[in-house]
């Protein structure tokens, strides 16, 4: 495993397990940090300067489930984009359903991709693989050349 980690924001342990599994099938494997709530996610991304991640190991990709207790996914996304340190981090929004209002709102706030958590695990796994490889390996991120 090499490169910056991936941050998964999801409160459902089943989904976390399945998503981890889907990510492991990718050619581009990264350490997966899990935040069970929006607050945890923001702590990891914007926490105090002593936090190792905040400075050096900022996630290379955020997988964000919209349905969260407390601060919900939309708000987390808004804060990610409002903060200069994470403004350019790719965010893939994960949802159970494709409610058009949610999709529109996420794109308006600067989500990079939108992936439905399909009941069909094969489809989900394939979607996750494509997105993760695209954002982690193929896409050229802003900032200093690696």
């Amino acid at each position: 495993m090499s490169g910056a980690p991936v941050l998964l924001v999801d409160d459902n342990p089943d989904d976390v397990l399945l998503t981890r599994r889907a990510l492991q099938r990718c050619r581009e494997t990264r350490e997966v940090l899990v935040a069970g709530t929006g607050e945890e996610a923001l702590e990891i991304l914007h926490g105090d300067p002593g936090n190792a991640f905040a400075a050096a190991a900022r996630p290379a990709l955020v997988l964000l489930d919209l349905k969260q207790p407390g601060i919900d996914g939309i708000e987390v996304l808004r804060r990610i984009r409002a903060d200069a340190r994470t403004r350019t981090v790719p965010v893939i929004v994960l949802t159970s359903s494709r409610v058009p209002e949610d999709v529109d709102a996420c794109y308006a706030l600067g989500a990079n991709s939108f992936l439905q958590k399909a009941v069909d695990f094969d489809r989900f796994q394939e979607g996750m693989r494509v997105f993760a490889e695209y954002w982690l390996a193929m896409n050229v991120a802003p900032g200093p050349a690696a």
């Binding site: 089943d14 399945l18 159970s96 359903s97 009941v119 069909d120 695990f121 989900f124």
Partner: protein
Amino acid sequence: MTTSRPPAGDDARDLRERALERLRLRREHEAPRAPADALRLVHELEVHQVELEIQKAELERTRDELASSLARYTDLYDFAPVGYLSLDRDGTILSVNLYGADLLGVPRARLLGRRLGDFVPPSWRPALVSFLARTLAGSSREACELALQPEGGWERVVRIESTSSPSGLECRAAVTDVTERRVAEDALAREHLLLSEAEQVGHLGSWEWDVGLDEFRVSPEWRRIHGTSEHVLSRRALSGFAHPEDVSRVMAALEDALAGPRPYDVEHRIVRADDGRVRLVHALAFVERDAKGRPLRAVGVAQDVTDSREAERALRESEKEKRLLLEHLPIGVVAHGPDTRILYSNPKAAELLGLSASAMKGKAAVGSEWRFLRDDGSAMPAREFPVNAVLATGRPLQGLVLGICPPKSDATTWVLVQAYPELGNDGRLRQVVVVFVDVTARRREQAAVREQEERYRALFDTASDAITIHDLETGRILDANPAANRLYGWPPEELRTLRFDDLAAGEDAGSCPLAGLPGHGVLPHHRRKDGTVFPVELRTSAFDVGGRPAMAVFARDISERVEAEARLRASEDQFRRAVSEAPIPILIHDEDDRNLQVSSGWARFSGYTLDDIPTMGDWTEKAYGSRSGLEKKYIDALFSIDATVSNGEWRVTTKDGLQRTWEFQTTPLGRSPAGRRVLMSLAVDVTEKKAAEDGIRRANAGLEEAVRERTLELAEANASLAEANAELEAFVQSVSHDLRAPVRAISGFAQVLAEDFGERLSPEGTDYLGRIRAAGQRMGTLIDDLLRLSRIGRADLELSNVDLAGPCREILAELAAGSPERPVETVVPGPILVHGDDRLLRVLLENLLGNAWKFTAATRGARIEVGCEIGPEGFVDVFVRDNGAGFDPDLKGKLFRPFQRLHSADQFPGSGIGLAIVERIARRLGGSARAEGAAGAGATFHVLLPVAKEGAS
């Protein structure tokens, strides 16, 4: 003449001394005498005797001296170049010397006793008399100058100096001839006078400078110029006259001139000594030098040039003004030399000729730059150019009109040209001056006037009205147009011999003097040559023809119009009678509020005749109780209608005070002759009919009330139902979302289990795992469909006109792309226009067409047809017809229920939600859906959708 005087004391003593000496010498030779006294006496006598002897000798010598002196003086007297005369008191000549006699031109002998006055011209005689008197009165010397007229000689001028004799009776005069001196003096004086006058005339003062003495002697004019009375000046004093700013320059010039060799020549300002005025002086001097070249003397002049400089300046100014005038003259001026070359041109000339003034200078008149036109527009040959014409004839040229076609321009400028030769002092041609004025605008105006004249002439000739022009006094026809010839039937030459009266007939003849004609009117009796009489409409217009008052008469045959008017009047009468006799209420009224006519029906039903209601206000007041109420305003507004309108029922109060109901309609009748709009309001009295209808209406009213109440109840029920529905939709949304997570976990972990532990499972176990996964996925699909269905009820509608043909073709193309192996014939006509939400309509079509596609999968020669028919009012019946599996008509009612499947999932996969969605969308858009079909005979689904709205997008 001291010698002629007697001896004085000294001489007497001297004489005694000498006499005593001589006596003593004598006694030494002689014996002594007797007694002493006698001796002494003798001695005395002897001395006395000697003294006398000596005295005698002396006297003799003196006498001799005197005689010679007298002879000398007499000669002197006679031959001196001065005339000596002695005159007595009255001028008689007592003595005269020879020169004096010569002066008077008469011998001395004959002169004595004559009067000097005889030789003096009469005008001088009083001077002589007074001179003599003056001389004899005093003892001093007198002098005067007189003219003398000698006998037989030229008049002389003499100077006379005289004294009187001691006795005072005689005047002794010395006369000198001063004629020569006087002549010389006169000449000198005249020269001085001339010089002075010359200096004065030329404002030219002169001076002479003795360099050694440093003395400037200045002439009177010099003094006048400098305002001084000093005759002699020093160099220093001279410099005092120079203007302070010019002093150093003047003195430097003087030093230069002294150093030589150039003369002193300087123009400078002076300040006059007496009045301090500043003048401009030109000073010029030459220096005379001695043999060694040292300056001795300088002679110079100073001229006051203030006035001449001022005059020069004024001349220059006037030249400038003249030039300025030429530069700004709105007239072109060109001066040509005898070789036609342009010597001068002013800016206006350059402008008119289309060249800059500098470009014109030096050009010859015959250049290719200009093309000139004659007055008639033809090209002008060079020999006719103004300058050439003047050069050829030597005479001035006037009134030539010439067109200038300047280079690089096609606009012709027309000018009126004058040209004249100008001769020099030697009588030879110096230049030809060509002067020209732009007359383009005037020419254009003239052309326009001509054109207008032609136009008027054409108008005159082609006018359909007869136009005759008459001498106003005699009525004689001066001119007539062809229409006049036609109208009156006279050939042109005969018509012109007639007078206005000859054209009138009957009552009009003679009774209408031309001058008394109105500007516009109708004369019913005009006559043709053949004697027929006809009415005319006349217009007249007075004007001048060559200074004589004339009148143009425009006549139009109005026979036809008169007939038409008569017919119209008849028709009007008929209409009027039709209205007045009508048995129903009819009122004709105009926009000035006047009622023009009422029918007998109106009078019968309302009780009012036209006399009762002369105005609409009167009518509304009587019938509706107000002159300006709503009814009146409504009626006033009717004047804008352009077709018949129904006004509904009006309750009018009749003259009897009864209420009647009139149903009105109003028709516009156009305009009155005065241009006011006229309406015909026509009524049907429906009072009785209304009474019958009111009974029915009252019966209906109860029924309507019941319906209204029931409707209200239903609406309330609907509202709470809608609320419940919305809650249910939200519940479904939330539940189905939450259901997905566990289903996903079941399905997902079943797959994980299969992947990770599949090898350890028996085939049966693997089968069970597959079933768990499949069930999970079906559950997922059901949840998704349920969500979709619920969303349709919640979506916001955006309504517009939609053509369904395009989306149908797109969806069919997508389906064909998904199953390229299936040959399906599709028919989509276009356009299929409905009114609805385009997103929902697309979902509807996707489901209908997807269904048809799915259920024709097993059909050979599959065919899907889309079409539309006219539905019930306001709806389009859109249908999708296929020849697929069809359905059992008995189950038709279940077809649109959610999750209702008519076939097994093995046969045709699906959740059974599609038609429910179709039905829901149709309902949401205000329409409905139904199905026709039979098992194995295909199916046709009809959807009723609102028709496209006119004007909507």
